[in-house]
């Protein structure tokens, strides 16, 4: 009986294992494999070694686009670290100390998270469209036409606006994770901290922050990965070419253009597209490893 029991697990695991391997794991290796070939998707695959990567990094036409896109990705990543995450933590803290109406705020602040980024982009069009958008109409109505702007058509504003949209839509998940981490801190610690007479600032910086940060490492890792893979919103708001002067261009959009769009020099080369994916993957890996090294410094022995 014992032996029979040991074998049955295969029946449970096999279906999931097969599908998962074919559609999730295999593609990761496949993309590495493709990246060293020149291939239009039909016919012969030509082995070219690292030629695709060379084009990506040194070609006069491709490299500036690629580096501009990567620069935007890193800029967005900096926003995640320096603006979005602290903002999320602050809101989580405010919910934790039960500011007035915190239940309503908690409910509403998470809601946009279940709304598709397509629809969020639609809302952005409603508000920010230069011709019919609500904001420009409103400025005209209150007699301040000089405040009108092209918004997403203005390269100085497009990126900032997108960060605001991302916060509006996505901040909820991080807030909830930080919040539940704060709630997990033992009440004994809070009690002894109260008896020792520490004030709110001390309690925040000496107790809550250090005790909840380590468990936040995984959410920061996830946001980092997503920051490097962003696609939907800049694609819908800035168009396939990444907005005016490429201010909304990201690595993933460069990949999309070269792979499913017009291709490189007018001919489609899937290997080249794959090499962009590999580059993205490598950047993600490096950033995540560095970041986790950095975050682990803050870990306390508890």
């Amino acid at each position: 009986m014992g032996k029979m029991r040991k074998k049955k697990h295969i029946l449970f695991i096999a279906p999931g294992f097969i599908l998962y391997t074919i559609f999730i794991i295999l593609p990761i290796f496949y993309v590495f494999y493709l990246s060293v070939f020149e291939w239009s998707g039909l016919g012969e695959m030509k082995f070219v070694g690292l030629e695709n990567f060379k084009t990506l990094i040194f070609n006069d036409r491709v490299a500036p686009t690629m580096f501009n896109a990567l620069k935007n990705n890193l800029k967005y990543l900096l926003c995640v670290w320096l603006i979005i995450t602290p903002f999320q933590y602050l809101i989580a803290y405010l919910l934790y100390i039960k500011i007035p109406a915190f239940k309503y705020i908690k409910f509403m602040i998470f809601m946009p998270y279940v709304i598709s980024s397509t629809i969020v982009s639609f809302f952005a069009t409603l508000l920010f469209s230069p011709n019919i958008g609500f904001l420009n109409k409103f400025f005209e109505w209150i007699g301040h036409s000089e405040w009108q702007s092209a918004w997403f058509g203005d390269p100085n504003r497009a990126f900032k606006l997108m960060i605001i949209l991302i916060i509006w839509q996505g901040a909820g998940s991080g807030i909830m994770i930080f919040y539940s981490n704060l709630m997990d801190i033992s009440q004994d610690i809070m009690e002894s901290c109260r008896i020792d007479g520490c004030n709110e600032w001390q309690r925040f910086f000496r107790i809550l922050l250090p005790l909840s940060l380590p468990s936040c490492a995984s959410i920061i890792t996830m946001s980092t990965i997503w920051a490097l893979a962003i696609f939907d919103m800049p694609f819908i708001l800035g168009g396939i070419n990444g907005g005016v002067n490429g201010c909304l261009d990201f690595a993933n959009m460069v990949f999309y253009r070269y792979t499913f769009g017009s291709g490189l020099n007018g001919k489609s080369n899937l290997g080249f597209g794959a090499s962009i994916c590999v580059l993205m993957f490598v950047v993600m890996l490096v950033v995540t490893v560095l970041q986790n090294k950095f975050l682990s410094k803050f870990e306390y022995d508890t």
Partner: protein, 284 residues
């Protein structure tokens, strides 16, 4: 003075500060009500009314834009596609994840920890990296631009659900299964008649958030469902936005129809959704 949960007594300044912050946040959350409200109102205007009166109450309630997208054009077809994708993907993915998680967490075998880690990889690698190979694989097996192909890809994304289920299954006492086994129940009977009913809440939660994610998905359908007859709702909305001035009233109605299911689900199950997306998924 009110004593707070942590027991400290608030000074008047601190109380004012909290009140002000709360007020700011309440105003901030009104943006959600505002944009959804405007869209809803606009969707009830006639086209002429909409152009002249973009923000504000409709002159008369009209269901023209709804009639237009529901009875003309392909919108209803996109709606059907989205339903098929979401239901198929969610049921398949949740079921597969439950099976796999059960196999891993309730049996002893070699390579158990390897498998646990193996199934986590999908959570760390975004689909954007692997979408080109997915495109080629689906093309190879003849399922590109077909709903079943997309559903298979959704079904394969079991990483998160599998991880959450494993954690949950480990908490079920072994005695429960042992006594059923002594009564002569087979492994699958135990799984379907004991484990699934016991785990209903967590399974429902994971199914719920999987469904919301698949309903909202834009990138994968765009790449993997290119031809017109298999498009999903998010793609339809994208189409409307890219020609916004032409399809203004249609897009309002389309957004509302796409939005209603998730908003209803959120109002009914907000705590489960939050818990599913945060609690089990990335914590710990």
């Amino acid at each position: 003075m009110k004593r707070r949960r942590s027991g400290e007594i608030l000074s008047p300044t601190a109380r004012t500060a909290r009140g002000v912050l709360a007020a700011i946040l309440i105003v901030y959350t009104f943006t959600t009500v505002f944009v959804i409200g405007i869209t809803l109102l606009d969707s009830l205007k006639t086209k002429g009314d909409l152009v002249s009166n973009f923000v504000g109450l409709p002159k008369a309630i009209s269901f023209d834009s709804y009639k237009k997208i529901l009875f003309e054009g392909d919108f209803i077809n996109y709606f059907k596609n989205s339903i098929i994708l979401t239901v198929g993907g969610t049921v398949g993915c949740t079921f597969l994840a439950a099976l796999t998680a059960y196999g891993i967490s309730r049996y002893d075998f070699k390579g158990k920890s390897f498998l646990t880690a193996y199934f986590l990889i999908g959570m760390m690698v975004p689909v954007q990296v692997s979408v080109l190979p997915l495109f080629l694989i689906l093309k190879k097996i003849g399922l590109l631009n077909k709903l079943p192909g997309m559903i298979l890809v959704y079904m394969a994304g079991i990483s998160m659900a599998c991880f959450v289920f494993q954690k949950f299954f480990r908490t079920i006492p072994v005695e429960l299964e042992e006594s059923a086994r002594l009564d002569g129940a087979g492994d699958f009977t135990i799984f379907f008649c004991i484990i699934i009913p016991v785990c209903k809440p967590v399974i429902a939660t994971m199914a719920l958030i999987t469904a919301i994610q698949e309903w909202n998905d834009f990138y994968m359908p765009m790449v993997l469902l290119g031809s017109k007859n298999v498009k999903s709702l998010t793609l339809a909305i994208y189409q409307y936005i890219s020609q916004f001035t032409r399809y203004m009233s249609e897009s309002m109605a389309a957004v509302i129809i796409t939005l209603i299911p998730v908003i209803i689900l959120y109002f009914l199950f907000s705590s489960q959704i939050v818990e599913g997306l945060t609690g089990g998924a990335v914590k710990g």
